[in-house]
Symmetry: C2
Amino acid sequence: MRIVQKYGGSSVATLELIRGVAKRAIATKNEGHEVVVVLSAMKGETDRLLQLAMEAHPSPEPRELDSVLATGEQVSIGLFAISCQALGEKVKSFLGFQAGVKTDDQHGRARITDLDPARIRTELAKGRIVAVAGFQGINRHGDLTTLGRGGSDATAVALAIGLKADLCEIYTDVEGIYTTDPHICEKARKMERICYEEMLELASLGAKVMEIRSVELGMNYGVQIHVRHAHSQATGTLILKEDSEMEKTPVRGVTLSVNEARVTLLNVPDQPGVASRILSLVSKAGVVVDMIIQNRSFSDVPEGAKLTDFSFTVPLTDYPKTMELMEAAREEIGASRVVGDDTIAKVSIVGVGMRNHAGVAALMFQALAKENINLSMISTSEIKISCVIEKKYGELAVRALHEAFELDKLEG
Amino acid sequence: MRIVQKYGGSSVATLELIRGVAKRAIATKNEGHEVVVVLSAMKGETDRLLQLAMEAHPSPEPRELDSVLATGEQVSIGLFAISCQALGEKVKSFLGFQAGVKTDDQHGRARITDLDPARIRTELAKGRIVAVAGFQGINRHGDLTTLGRGGSDATAVALAIGLKADLCEIYTDVEGIYTTDPHICEKARKMERICYEEMLELASLGAKVMEIRSVELGMNYGVQIHVRHAHSQATGTLILKEDSEMEKTPVRGVTLSVNEARVTLLNVPDQPGVASRILSLVSKAGVVVDMIIQNRSFSDVPEGAKLTDFSFTVPLTDYPKTMELMEAAREEIGASRVVGDDTIAKVSIVGVGMRNHAGVAALMFQALAKENINLSMISTSEIKISCVIEKKYGELAVRALHEAFELDKLEG
């Protein structure tokens, strides 16, 4: 098999750990596989560099910052190759540009646009392990770029695609993907398999194991991804195409996000164009809106006036900015008041089986009602249902839903 | 003027110092000059990286080591550019490969073979300061290389040549080139001008200010080099073509090297081929021999036998290795004994005027004799005379020669 292995920063935090990773890669090769290893920077290194840059200027020129940050991975792959050398294995390391990782021009969050892994293929053909710097690429000007959060995952999946690898292993500090956060619910179970769509929903809902773009990329090209623990031999979770087995269960995961806040404009005119005016203001400020709900208002309203309440959620970090923005635009929009709430949580259930199972929403609402948890917003997609609740009930809600959908009994 | 400025590691050791360097470069630009800045790694960083690599393997794969070490300069130019940004100046930084610094394949001590500074020219034409990572280049395979000790000097001089710069400023932590080491002789004087040939002899004789290859490069292309202090406005020393003014003085510099040792093979057969057999053994071990002296032996020898003593000096660090090697080969070479001495020093006088002045050697030997300093080896070139003496007399010899040749009264 041709295998791409990606190890995150915590797996290469020290020379000792790098040596462990080297042993693991060599063992995989000795099982008869072709191995490409993608590494992140040693844990803490990217933050150290970022801090240095920000001491020089609070918002450093993105092109220069990328060049500084890219050194983190450059060091780890070199040390990895040298550690392999110490174990008697000849390894060649490649920087993003040497591995042919071409990106667009968006410094700090560049996207891979093209891949030319000719040098990697040559080395693999010589029977060598190849190490590649994650997180980085080169744009059409010949400038270094970085891929943003989770960028090394993207490098690994892109390489798996470009090299037609049979498997992309994402080594991390957890055992795999769980039905829910084991810290919240001790009955959480590791899933053996999960499909791309489910993983995407879980990732965007707050599961931090893998970065969304990489899952998307894997989905588009059908790359099998194995998420597993860097320092354990246990099997982790395989991310792959949806199959009939998965569809038998309506719900396969529960997530909780507490990093959101709600903004409500009271009594805005119930007219076409109001919603788009509000949302374009918010998006111009660079704030990404998640849930949106508009509902007829019956309070504080003169009889007969066509008014409505308009609510949306934003990331908690953008909450103060968004509130200011709305206060400033309140009069122009015609709202009577702006009300915010940063004590909310979003609890969600996910499963591809939802498509074929009726009554899933009803069961969810029942389970929450049983615990006296009030729902203030609801949104649904084909394979997920999310509810906004009071933050203090977040963990309770997760446990209640995990129980109600019997996820502790989930097979596979 | 188009000026290349090079700042060493101690000049960019902290963010504070980098900001100082940024101010200096901007001030130069504001005087109406085009400025290209070449930086070394922050002081201590290269050592830190080297240590990490050597912890992973005592003799790390050179290609991998180069890639790790090259990050040092990558960080400093990025931080420099960001510091300029904080001072309101738009600066673009380029890594070795982006600046078109092509080298041969000798990792760890690569030589620049070609330069293609197209991107630098474009940025200069836009009125921008350009920062370039010193010490690094790229070879024909697309691999990163480093240029070895003093590599950033080589980058600066090469860029000065490639960009047809009017001046190459080497900023360092000393005021310039002195007639001798001011720590040894308080009457040492800063020279205003020195010619390439003299600088080459001084550099190879132990003056640590500039690296030999860069002086050579500068000489071959006639680049004016100004060695000066990074944190002082005072003029330093200009390195340039020899002129008639310089030739008026026979001696212009005195140097001391204490990092050498002498190896003597006693009573080797006085036959053709013996010297070359000894020296090829030494050179195969990677040891560079400096002085060589062969003289007829009159002691311990049966009357009539054609025997000779053969002495040579090697770097102190290679002394134990060389002694072992000679002991092992003693019988085959036919020497009666191998004698070593690691308590020697080499004192030298340098000056292009020597060519036209008679009696310089005599004056040197006189001055040393006056202090009862015994000479054990002597070697000469067109513009220098070196003597091996006992190490304990090193500083005294320097002061005596400085006095004898009246270097404290040197003009210009």
